[in-house]
Symmetry: C3
Subunit: 244 residues, 3 copies
Amino acid sequence: MTNISKKAKIGKNVTIANSSRISGNVIIGDNVTIGDFCLIGNTSENKTSKKLIIKNGVKINSHSIIYLDSEIGENSVIGHRVLIREKTKIENNVQIGSYSDIEGYCEILSYVKLHSNVHVGQHSKIMNYAWLFPYVILTNDPIPPSEIREGVIIEPFAIVCTRTTILPGKKIGFGSFVGANSLVNKNLKSEMIGSGNPFKERGSINLIKIPGKNESAYPWHSRFQKDYPKNIKEIYENFRKKFI
Amino acid sequence: MTNISKKAKIGKNVTIANSSRISGNVIIGDNVTIGDFCLIGNTSENKTSKKLIIKNGVKINSHSIIYLDSEIGENSVIGHRVLIREKTKIENNVQIGSYSDIEGYCEILSYVKLHSNVHVGQHSKIMNYAWLFPYVILTNDPIPPSEIREGVIIEPFAIVCTRTTILPGKKIGFGSFVGANSLVNKNLKSEMIGSGNPFKERGSINLIKIPGKNESAYPWHSRFQKDYPKNIKEIYENFRKKFI
Amino acid sequence: MTNISKKAKIGKNVTIANSSRISGNVIIGDNVTIGDFCLIGNTSENKTSKKLIIKNGVKINSHSIIYLDSEIGENSVIGHRVLIREKTKIENNVQIGSYSDIEGYCEILSYVKLHSNVHVGQHSKIMNYAWLFPYVILTNDPIPPSEIREGVIIEPFAIVCTRTTILPGKKIGFGSFVGANSLVNKNLKSEMIGSGNPFKERGSINLIKIPGKNESAYPWHSRFQKDYPKNIKEIYENFRKKFI
């Protein structure tokens, strides 16, 4: 049942599972892999003129759905059963975990990692090298239901632990750490720990130690570099100058 | 691989993706759309004599699964990857968000909206014009595991915000508002705010203001009418007389 | 589009939906059923020499994904849209609910039941007859992101209610009860109740009564035997001797 739209442009060395469907104006770069049972170029009504751009080296795992009018940057990896709606801009080297639900009208900058089952509401902005762990929710509507959309901002190198909910328009500062299960109803400053419900600032990220050692676990780039550029320390310092 | 059961009855102007499967006694009205990779008329063992009724104008998005012995009312929209088990009664103009898990033996009345990833336990009753936001869970078993099923009741026009858990048998009153991340362990009265864990009543819904204005944001129908009948104000007042 | 790998070994009386794909070294026992749109024997790169063993009587529901290098024991039931990654060992008579995400490198022992949308992090060990209810999360990384993996241990007959998060390396004792929505940051002793955030021990499981009666609801095996061996009482007592 290979079904590739005539409008699609496909690069070199691309693998598309026979069971998946590529619809509409989809531009696929070189060395892209698309697993089974995917819908690539899905569309709401009357939007078929829009493009979906999937750049070189992207891997899309099975059962995923990606709408037209979005872009996925080089070497990004999309997990199983991901849903990405229109007007999502994903930069290079991003990882989107399985079951994640990206509602569109949002930006996910380079080297961001979302673990499984992250819900990204419209108008969210997740900046470079941030991590969102399983079941994190970024909301956007301050008086539901309404047409107001106040997106969440996650600044670079921030860590948001499992099952945290971030309320509309709140900002998680550069290099900060949000504990598991928090309900974030105020901004968190850069390089600070925040947690709980009610959400409170708990001091500098230096306070969290590596288990069994007397060394700070954060900032994390000094002890975890897997899949990152070699100059991640320099990158951190450069972002730090901009954000602090 | 179009696979449509011989027992199925299909109306006029129906679109069914080739990759989807229609099994058993499925009755599909006019102007219905069914996306890719769906199982419509799925069945547990020995229940093949049961019917699934999908009424005029229903749209079912890709990767959804709907069991026999259920009913979906006119113009209702089912998102991607929804699971609807047997003995689910969905009325007209309902929206079920992507990844939602409807466990069956439940009722969802007209104009209800469920956002993404809502979990509806058996014996729930969600009444007209209510909204459930992402990752809301309606439970039903007071002493798990057991065979006791005490369903949750959501009365008309109630709002249940993101990631709220409602314990078995609890009732959310007409036009009330439940804040994000609550654990609801008692009933909430009509037109009241409730939130938190421990869950507490926080006063009248009038206390929530539209951001930047000195106007009450609730009841919400006075400022949000998208996709609703024009006489929604009158409908609200009529329900109010019954429930308050 | 039936697609069954030549390397696969298929037992007697096996039903595999045409739309599903069996890849690589998959060994399927007798009386196995595999629903539509499944990927059985999925693989990360360079791991194709590994085996997936699916034993007699297993039922796998639609849209599920199971990686190579895992094992599923006799008569276990896998729900819809389940994801099971490599190095998952599932014993006999286990039930894995729909939307559950089993991250691999973990053990799920006989007669465990996971309800819908349970997230099992790597290195978890869920022991016999335990129950995990919807949206429970077992984490594993004490200083995310890191390469440290401290798995959660759930001892036999424990109950973990809806939406509980268990932090890395914590142990839930034999026959204990964890209330809904808890954030578990310390071990819970055997046959005790724990709940809340902050998480606290709340006394013996005997304190929870059957609604409307003056009888203890726990240990649960005395009032709920569905799908269990007839000698479940004896089994409980034997485990109790080992764990208490």
